[in-house]
């Protein structure tokens, strides 16, 4: 991440933040088995979301590299195809991160309350990742702010932000 190379960059940072959030949900659930009979279900969902995140992160970086190359080449056809594709990949990060934040809420409300803070921080990290994805959508769709992807990204940020704020307000 700290190298001089163009990639990995912001998309991977957002992916890692969301993956850390999923890992915190997993820890919260693992340490709550005694009081939460369905903790295993949350663990399985966190694992599925984390797997999706890494896949989405790879696609995000690849699409970013392709978009930058298109922009540098000045090829308008390639730009029209590849820049929106980078926006779509960024939106996928926001979608998955928003789901991690909802899973964190579920965990916080069922877990051993000694671990409520872990679930809350998971939601905070996931909200940051959703915001990262949404920001990259906006950057890639600069010329089309009314695109449906921009609207969806804003809703995802709102959803994940509300989840984090709600949990933070519970303690």
């Amino acid at each position: 991440m700290r190298s001089e190379e163009r990639s990995p960059a912001a998309g991977s940072a957002g992916t890692a933040a969301a993956a850390l959030a999923a890992a915190l949900v997993t820890k919260t659930a693992r340490r709550s088995r005694q009081v939460w009979p369905e903790a295993g279900g949350a663990i399985a969902q966190a694992a599925a979301l984390e797997a999706r995140l890494w896949k989405a992160g790879d696609e995000l970086e690849a699409s970013y590299r392709r978009a930058v190359e298109a922009l540098e080449s000045g090829d308008q056809t390639a730009i029209a195809e590849l820049v929106p594709a980078a926006a779509e990949a960024s939106l996928e990060l926001a979608r998955i991160a928003a789901d991690v934040s909802e899973l964190a809420v579920d965990a916080a409300h069922h877990c051993d309350q000694a671990h409520h803070a872990d679930a809350t921080v998971a939601a905070v990290l996931a909200a940051a990742a959703a915001r990262t994805g949404a920001h990259l959508v906006a950057v890639n769709l600069l010329s089309r702010p009314d695109d449906a992807r921009s609207s969806e990204a804003r809703l995802l940020v709102e959803r994940s932000h509300q989840a984090a704020e709600m949990l933070a307000g519970e303690r």
Partner: protein, 186 residues
């Protein structure tokens, strides 16, 4: 009478023996992916060879089902038959892996995985439609909570809990069938 897709393996075998055509169709449907997976994933047969093995397996199953001593054991019986026919196919093709030991390398592990997958598939098939649907959407189709909520007319914030409840039911079904699960399986 119970829907044929929901009857046990043993019940299905009994109906096949009685000459029930629908039961035969269900038997083939229930085990076809399993047989093809053994041939292609465990023995790495080509699609054409795997298709030949598939035909042989079910032809012999039809001829020899009467030899099966324990109707509950139809799955391992079909697995063993498939393994034998895969080895025959490899030998007949004189492939470089004609050495039986080499061809069998790693097959047990793959077969264990396939058995586990089939157990999960069977348990899923016996679950209620809402549970089956929500698990399929999340784990197989990779749908988001929002997309699942929109499709099923449910608030997005309730989807994670519902999935966990359904996974709990699935776990209970698998434990009934196989005994306690390990943490890894959970």
């Amino acid at each position: 009478m119970a829907a044929i897709s929901s009857i046990t393996d043993a019940g299905l075998v009994a109906r096949c023996r009685a000459g029930d055509d629908d039961a035969w169709e269900e038997l083939v449907r229930r085990f076809s992916r399993y047989v093809l997976a053994i041939a292609q994933q465990a023995y790495r047969l080509s699609p054409a060879d795997a298709e030949d093995v598939f035909q042989d397996v079910f032809a012999r199953t039809y001829e020899r089902l009467g030899d099966l001593r324990n109707d509950d054991a139809v799955r391992p019986w079909i697995a063993q038959l498939t393994r034998r026919l895969c080895i025959d196919r490899i030998r007949a093709g004189a492939r470089e892996t004609a050495d039986t030991d080499l061809a069998e390398a790693g097959v047990d592990d793959t077969l264990d995985e396939l058995d586990e997958a089939l157990s999960v598939q069977e348990a899923l098939a016996s679950m209620s439609e809402p549970c089956r649907d929500i698990l399929d959407r999340f784990f197989r189709r990779d749908e988001s909570y929002a997309a699942i909520g929109a499709a099923l007319g449910l608030p997005s914030g309730t989807i994670a809990s519902r999935i966990s409840r359904c996974l709990g039911k699935l776990r209970d079904l698998l434990m009934e069938e196989n005994g306690p699960l390990t943490r890894h399986e959970e």
